[in-house]
Subunit: 478 residues, 2 copies
């Protein structure tokens, strides 16, 4: 029982120590393990199954919108990385360098890709000639490396899994449209599948991607009131095209530069799921992303007929849902705790008395609500409950975010709000990076985004008092 | 028309120069492109779509047999790689070393994984305690790096995509069973999906994996008579377990070492598909692995009703098949050539005369056979033809292999056969590595495998004349 016990041992409560709670959950829900490679995590079967479900559902949305998957080399020669000036400046401090192949010292260092703009650009320069070749709507699923000093599973690690879309278009308008479309696709996916509400907006110049003309972002609020940048899309204009010479002849046979975008989400989304939905019993997974949607727990399973009936239910429900039947010799109580720790959305209990009454007991992971259901309508009811749960998790997360979103018109107000009850603070900004810096120094909050949905909070910049240009979401962030 | 023309330009004929034919096909069928990273390829959308179909179908077979996907770090600290002596000796000459993270020089070099035994072993040592934790049946899909001197797309490259299974078992018997089961799974997959017949057998000690007790292999014969090692499975016994201290307590509470296996196939399989099925018009793809199974080509498409009818057919066939409708303004002849180059299994032609007769014309990619089909039974017929084609491609490949498989009882015989008409040579072997070396020097052939299906070719070793122990398949190989 050593291992079972460990799994259901109490975890640190979120209220006591949110950071420790998070670490406990990722370990005890068996999402990851550590390795001897600093800052790199092992994604265990249960964690990887969540990533596979994210991949599958996102990939389908990418393909439905005309994108194609490719695979680029994982190495980038130093000279190639250096071609776009802002890009190399942004990434040089955080790349891993390969200097030797076997015994031989390389003539030119290769970096392990931190992102692949330069490789896509080199390929596009070679592959695009005419307007007939446009648009190029490529994506790749891969791992990338960024040499971070401090790391946390899923949230910030030396190596992480992600997808990176890289597109090339004939006009600036098309590139901008793609950049916004992909942001919307990400936000819809996060809300519909992960049940995480997103604020969509633009990054300030200080926070934008190295080499981008504009970076857009989806921002979510975690349970502890910190923000999580959950996905970004970048409009490069023709900056990379000029650096790499990506030109095409248009219908009038004129030579033009392409306009480009890139966009990515990563395993970081799993961190978001944990910190938005989890509670003091462990993970809570939205049904759409749960590797196990239903755990059937037989009660008094040694009594005649119980395991048979539980097996029948499993077979029936497995036709459309991801179901497990736990017939191990642990006690039902242990099993409840284990599946709660793993965030399984719905538990189905079935024992001798239930069989007598031709019923089963459903228990929702999030609310613990008990629902008695006739076996005749089990499938219909289970699907209904899962749908409702998916919806209510999103609503709950929205409510939490809205309750932790404040407005501020002065620095003191902002500082106090972030100290007393952390969350997002909506405040006006003059557009000066110096004010952004000053706000960070005083409150610890960074600009999360300039939201598309602008509101008028006050006339003047929360920091300098000069006329305000934009309303900005500020917050402490992961 | 610049690009179209390039695509359907004649490729080098296989008979003239097989190597150049291969290079032409991978480029002109738009499977890959080169990059500025030596020895690394860009897998383009059409090539990647083939890999996705391989992944999807193999992954399903892995999961049906109880395997789970995980993700391990891409870096291996030098000290970890060194833990198993044979393993490091085998791989050290061909790994890429990361020595710097950002500006900082690392205390310990990290290699980019050439394979991940050491990482899985470290994890298992930590994660396995009791017999209840066994077996562990893990797999990962990732890219690996081996610092090869000479490279060829799909067949041998610095970086390639693959899956690597790594399992741990309570007993030697279970580990051996897994090793054989996975070999059979690979062979079945290759025959049923890729239409490539495989010879199953064991590698000689000289050819086995660094650190393995036994390596098993599936070997196929390419059109030019060279062999391709298409997948391998390794039984490690308890060698790695002892080096890494992977122990468990059994039911009697005794401490025991686990027994392990690993197994992998890679994008190399795509090279096999090309070289087994391709012809002088380009790729030929078995329907089960073709990203596009049917290309509908409208004839005289400007005539009223043609494109509408073609669209109808597309919609109908798309419900169960992967279908494209080429309504571009290229001539039908161009379109035929393009889709032939890309190996699309079946072409469906539909023109005004066909519509009048309520028929369509099917043309098989492999045989060019023309089949006139009533539109009323199009779906049924198309599915039949694809099934027959899948089967006949396998039979054709089997016949080619059998016609190019010889027996030899003397070195001269073996040498002459390999020179005149390359293929596999079945010949007896005494078991001495010195003979294996001598055969390689004289004929250029290596031992492909000691097949499970043993035959008695002669009493004595083809090389030294001493009593023979085993019949071996010999051949030149990629």
């Amino acid at each position: 029982m050593g291992k079972e016990k460990k799994l259901v041992e109490a975890i640190t409560s979120m209220e006591e120590d949110f950071t420790q709670w998070y670490t406990d959950v990722v370990k005890k829900a068996e999402l990851i393990d550590y390795s001897s490679v600093r800052g790199c995590m092992i994604i265990k079967p249960y964690g990887y199954a969540i990533w596979e479900l994210i991949q599958k559902q996102l990939d389908q949305r990418f393909k439905e919108t005309g994108h194609q998957n490719v695979y680029m080399p994982m190495f980038i020669p130093e000279s190639l990385l250096e071609k776009e000036k802002d890009h190399i400046e942004g990434f040089a401090p955080e790349v891993a360098w390969v200097t030797h192949g076997g015994e031989e010292k390389l003539n030119e260092r290769l970096c392990v890709r931190p992102t692949s703009e330069t490789l896509f650009c080199e390929h596009y320069a070679h592959d695009i000639q005419s307007y007939r070749d446009l648009p190029k709507l490529y994506n790749q699923w891969c791992s990338v490396v960024r040499w971070e000093k401090t790391t946390r599973p899923f949230l910030r690690s030396l190596e992480f899994l992600w997808q990176e879309g890289h597109t090339a278009h004939a006009t600036a308008e098309e590139a901008e449209e793609e950049t916004i479309n992909m942001l919307n696709l990400y936000a819809d996916f996060c809300e519909e599948v992960l049940a995480i509400p997103m604020i969509k907006g633009k990054k300030t110049d200080k926070e934008k991607f190295a080499g981008a003309k504009a970076t857009y972002t989806i921002e979510s609020l975690m349970h502890d009131g910190k923000g999580l940048q959950s996905g970004t899309t970048h409009n490069f204009g023709d900056g990379f095209a000029k650096a790499f010479g990506i030109q095409y002849t248009d219908k009038e046979n004129k030579l033009k530069y392409v306009h480009q975008s890139s966009w990515g989400v990563s395993t970081r989304l799993i961190g978001g799921i944990i910190m938005v939905h989890g509670d003091n019993s462990g993970l809570v997974l939205p049904p759409a992303i749960a590797p196990i949607q239903i755990a059937i727990i037989p009660i008094m399973q040694r009594k005649a007929g119980v395991l048979e009936k539980a097996g029948e239910l499993k077979e029936k429900l497995s036709q459309t849902l991801r179901v497990t039947l736990d017939d191990s010799d642990k006690s039902p109580g242990w099993k409840f705790s284990e599946h709660e720790m793993k965030g399984v959305p719905l538990r189905v209990e079935i024992g001798p008395k239930d069989i007598e009454k031709n019923q089963a007991v459903l228990v929702r992971r999030d609310t613990r609500e008990k629902i008695f259901v006739s076996l005749d309508e089990l499938e219909v009811k289970v699907n209904q409950v899962l749908q409702v749960m998916q919806q209510e998790l999103l609503e709950k997360a929205k409510n939490h975010r809205d309750e932790h979103t404040y407005t501020a018109t002065t620095m003191d107000e902002m500082e106090n709000q972030l100290k007393e009850n952390p969350g997002f603070v909506k405040a006006m900004w003059c557009g000066d990076p110096a004010c952004e810096e000053a706000i960070k120094e005083k409150t610890g909050a960074t600009s999360r985004c300039i939201p598309f949905d602008q509101e008028h909070v006050s006339d003047t910049c929360v920091c300098c008092g000069k006329p305000a240009k934009k309303m900005v979401y500020w917050g402490k962030a992961y």
